[in-house]
């Protein structure tokens, strides 16, 4: 009896490790930027190339930076959630960052699917994306009044993430 106890215990430990390890999402890499000041940038806006956007303009507000692109398939999945939030009178400003896109494609996309953004900044060559550690669009950053990143969502925002994480945290930071 005792002979089988040790291998059985080892087997259970191994199964435990695999159960935890295989159920984790390898794409969800923790961002080192959470808790750090949002990297500064200044790029033209999508709708009006004559105007620029910089995170400095948002100091004093709790806001969401949402990285999107017209070529990005999962952006279509999360977009209705953002549109609905703004349409229902959501107060948290959402700034879009149009990542490695064509201006005309981006504008078309917003026209077709709705524009939940206060404005969208245009990151044509993806340099801003690199500073923010973007590796899979869509990605979203919740930034507090002092300009510090408090939360990062890699991949599409689901209703659970929006209502369970982003909005409660935004409310808390807004006080």
């Amino acid at each position: 009896m005792n002979r089988f106890l040790l291998p059985l215990a080892l087997f259970v430990v191994l199964v435990g490790f695999l159960a935890v390890g295989l159920n984790r999402d390898p794409r969800d890499v923790p961002s080192p930027l959470v808790g750090k000041p949002a990297p500064s940038f200044e790029v033209p806006q999508v709708a009006d190339p004559g105007q620029t956007f910089s995170p400095k303009q948002m100091l004093g507000k709790v806001w969401l930076l949402n990285v999107w692109a017209s070529w990005c398939v999962s952006c279509r999945q999360e977009h209705p959630i953002l549109v609905e939030y703004t349409r229902n009178g959501g107060t948290m400003p959402i700034i879009g960052l149009n990542y490695k896109d064509q201006r005309s494609d981006g504008l078309n996309w917003l026209q077709q699917l709705g524009d939940p953004y206060l404005l969208s900044a245009f990151d044509a060559d993806g340099r801003v994306g690199i500073d923010y550690g973007v590796y899979g669009v869509p990605e979203s950053y919740l930034i507090d009044k002092a300009g510090v990143i408090r939360f990062k969502q890699t991949g599409p925002i689901t209703p659970e993430v929006m209502n369970g994480k982003i909005l409660p945290l935004a409310k808390e930071l807004d006080q």
Binding site: P26, R27, V29, P30, S31, P32, L33, K100, D125, G126, R127, G129, I130, D131, Y132, G133, Y135, G136
Partner: protein, 153 residues
């Protein structure tokens, strides 16, 4: 015959006129060598089991461009790696740094090895204790055995 020679010469001339010198693969070979050296140690985040040097993902190309720029600015290899780690985290490094959160990662295999050796030693000791050495024959037994052997022959 003369016609053929002329034709051959004409073809040869045409050939040299058409062929251009091969374009260099990289503007600056030294920069490119360092880029590859650094990028082989870095993980591409889009296709996670490829290195930044080998990946053809869009992001990998952008990151190679950034690394190339950093090298041209005279940054050291460490500074280039720090640039990427500050944005993407330790995950981009194929050789993770030794720090409290990675102690288990680094020491784990050695702990397993030590555990295995300990288990092996314990097993061997137990076995040698079980297989007791055969008792020596007493003189009386030996005589009996010899007597029996003689009887047989």
């Amino acid at each position: 015959m003369k016609f053929l020679i002329a034709l051959g010469a004409a073809l040869l001339l045409a050939g040299t006129a058409l062929a251009k010198e091969a374009a260099p693969l990289a503007e600056d070979e030294a920069v490119e060598k360092r880029l590859i050296n650094i990028a082989e140690e870095l993980r591409c985040l889009v296709c996670q089991n490829e290195s930044l040097a080998g990946s053809r993902a869009d992001l990998a190309e952008d990151l190679r461009r950034e690394v190339r720029n950093l090298i041209k600015q005279g940054k050291t290899d460490q500074e280039v790696k720090d640039f990427l780690v500050s944005r993407y985290g330790d995950f981009v490094l194929y050789r993770p740094p030794v720090k409290p959160t990675t102690w288990l990662l680094w020491a784990g295999p050695f702990l397993l090895l030590i555990g295995g050796i300990a288990a092996l030693i314990a097993f061997l000791r137990r076995r040698s204790a079980q297989v007791a050495p055969a008792a020596k024959l007493s003189d009386e037994d030996r005589k009996r055995a010899e007597a029996l052997l003689k009887d047989n022959s």
